[in-house]
């Protein structure tokens, strides 16, 4: 019984020691609006459409992303390329490319399905806004992905190109 008492008291002291050590360690808190997390490279945040080295759109309007999307949030309308003034390198390009960011579940299947690596999900996670209509990301919104990765995110999660 006495042994049990001393063992119990010892265990209590060990517990106190653990919390004391915790007090001396650095807090893990990230003070969010001032201090932003560096997201992992493969984080699935906001979508972007990429361009190739010549500045042409990568998207060839194949609609595989739309077909693969589990929640049907991607709308693609393709059109034939003008050979003299091509928008993309393929025969066709996406005339309309819209993603409903409210409906999207950020699963990344579109990214996996894309045969030309046109649509990607990047590390932008600040997607809150006051207006639902702003969540329909059109082609203009999605194409701002600069090449190479030069971008900043403003308070509402809209991407801006960094001018060198």
């Amino acid at each position: 019984m006495i042994k049990a008492v001393f063992l119990g008291a010892y265990n209590l002291l060990v517990g106190l020691g653990v919390t004391f050590k915790n007090m001396l360690s650095k807090p893990v808190t990230i003070c969010y609006p001032e201090q932003k997390r560096v997201m992992p490279e493969r984080f699935r945040g906001r979508h972007f459409l990429t361009r190739d080295e010549d500045g042409l759109e990568r998207c060839i309007g194949c609609s595989l992303c739309s077909i693969n999307c589990p929640v049907n949030c991607i709308h693609v309308v393709s059109a034939e390329n003008d050979p003299n003034n091509p928008v993309s390198k393929g025969e066709r390009y996406a005339e309309v490319y819209e993603i409903n960011l409210l409906r999207c579940i950020y699963c990344g299947y579109c990214e996996e399905a894309c045969p030309v690596d046109a649509v990607v999900l990047r590390e932008h996670y600040e997607l809150a806004d006051y207006d639902r209509n702003t969540y329909i990301a059109t082609k203009e919104d999605l194409l701002v992905y600069p090449e190479p990765n030069q971008f900043t995110v403003n308070f509402l999660g809209n991407t801006k190109i960094v001018n060198k």
């Binding site: 209590l12 517990g15 106190l16 653990v18 919390t19 004391f20 915790n22 007090m23 360690s25 650095k26 807090p27 893990v28 808190t29 003070c31």
Partner: protein, 340 residues
């Protein structure tokens, strides 16, 4: 005419000093509460590897004031089933008992002002320690009345638990304090402190110190003995139905009790304002010791989970009480056989 007033006031000089001291002590004590809340939240944060409140003002120091303002403007809800008079009386009793307890606590040597000796205490009572225990037990009435008058079974359970807990731990508290009284031969808190000018009582009477501190934590209803407000089972215990400033008064009572208990431990076991290292600023030394004990209170809260109610009772009656009795026997035997 001023001469006339002064002549009239002359025999009541001690009364005026007393009033001034009382006001200063009460105001200082009450303004300590927000600081203590801030300290607790910051320190708890650090113990849990986070930052704690840091948004309002520098280091979050504005947080307690923001909270106070919020509580002042909250709606005052009294549900229809409540006993109105007792419902309003309960928080007042708690705060009253908590503040009055501090009146008998000395925190420094007396100093001279205008030919009169002014002691750094509300009142230097010959039965100081009895007074402290008597008044601090009155706080239980506030809690029980809050539980009864709320017309809510959670409040009632909380109030009953609280009274049972405080009564059982008060025995240990009293018996260990009695061993100090036996050793120093005085009930006067000032004399008890003066008796420790060579070394603090905590060194020769370490078991009594530990027992007293544990019972003190239970007496102030602090974690891990915060059974009356066990939120998993009792919502918020005896103050479930209280809102706004009446809720804040219970809060205030708890924190003032914490300060009082720390001050009492400092006086009885840690040598009061004696620094033992040649530092001769009585109030600062006293405040520092109290501050350290408050940090220990917070440390305990952030470390230990709440203990079960039956174990609380078993621990109080079958473990702490016999130990404190043995401790008192040993102390009195020592006093009779060797010290005399």
């Amino acid at each position: 005419m001023i001469d006339g007033i002064l002549n009239f006031l002359d025999p009541y000089w001690w009364l005026i000093i007393g009033v001034v001291k009382a006001v200063i002590i009460a105001v200082a004590l009450l303004s300590m509460v927000p600081l203590l809340v801030w300290l607790e939240r910051r320190l708890m944060g650090r113990f849990q590897v986070r930052l704690g409140p840091n948004r309002v003002g520098p280091f979050g120091l504005g947080q307690p004031f923001a909270d106070t303002i919020k509580l002042l403007f909250k709606e005052n809800i009294v549900q229809s089933g409540a006993d109105k008079f007792l419902f309003y009386l309960a928080p007042a009793i708690v705060v009253f008992a908590a503040i009055v307890t501090f009146a008998a606590i000395p925190f420094g040597e007396p100093f001279e002002v205008g030919g009169e000796m002014v002691g750094l205490w509300g009142a230097n009572l010959n039965i100081g320690i009895l007074f402290v225990f008597a008044i601090s037990s009155m706080g239980i009435y506030g809690i029980v009345i809050a539980g009864f008058s709320s017309n809510n079974k959670y409040s009632l359970m909380g109030g009953l638990r609280s009274s049972a807990q405080m009564i059982s731990y008060e025995l240990t508290l009293g018996l260990t304090a009695l061993s100090v009284v036996i050793m120093s031969g005085s009930l006067n808190l000032y004399d008890i402190v003066k008796d420790q000018s060579d070394w603090p009582n905590a060194i020769p009477m370490f078991p009594a110190f530990v027992l007293f501190f544990i019972a003190g934590v239970a007496e102030t209803n602090r974690a891990p003995f915060d059974l009356p407000e066990a939120e998993q089972e009792l919502v918020a215990g005896f103050f479930t139905e209280y809102s706004g400033m009446k809720f804040a008064m219970f809060f205030m009572g708890e924190y003032v009790n914490m300060i009082t208990m720390s001050a009492l431990v400092t006086i009885l076991f840690l040598g009061g304002w004696h620094s033992y290292i040649g530092l001769d600023i009585p109030i600062l030394v006293f405040a520092f010791k109290v501050f350290l004990l408050l940090c220990v209170f917070i440390w305990l809260r952030s470390t230990f989970p709440r203990i079960r109610y039956d174990r609380l009772m078993v621990f109080g009656w079958k473990f702490l009480l016999p130990l404190s009795l043995v401790n008192m026997l040993v102390c009195s035997a020592y006093k009779v056989l060797w010290a005399a």
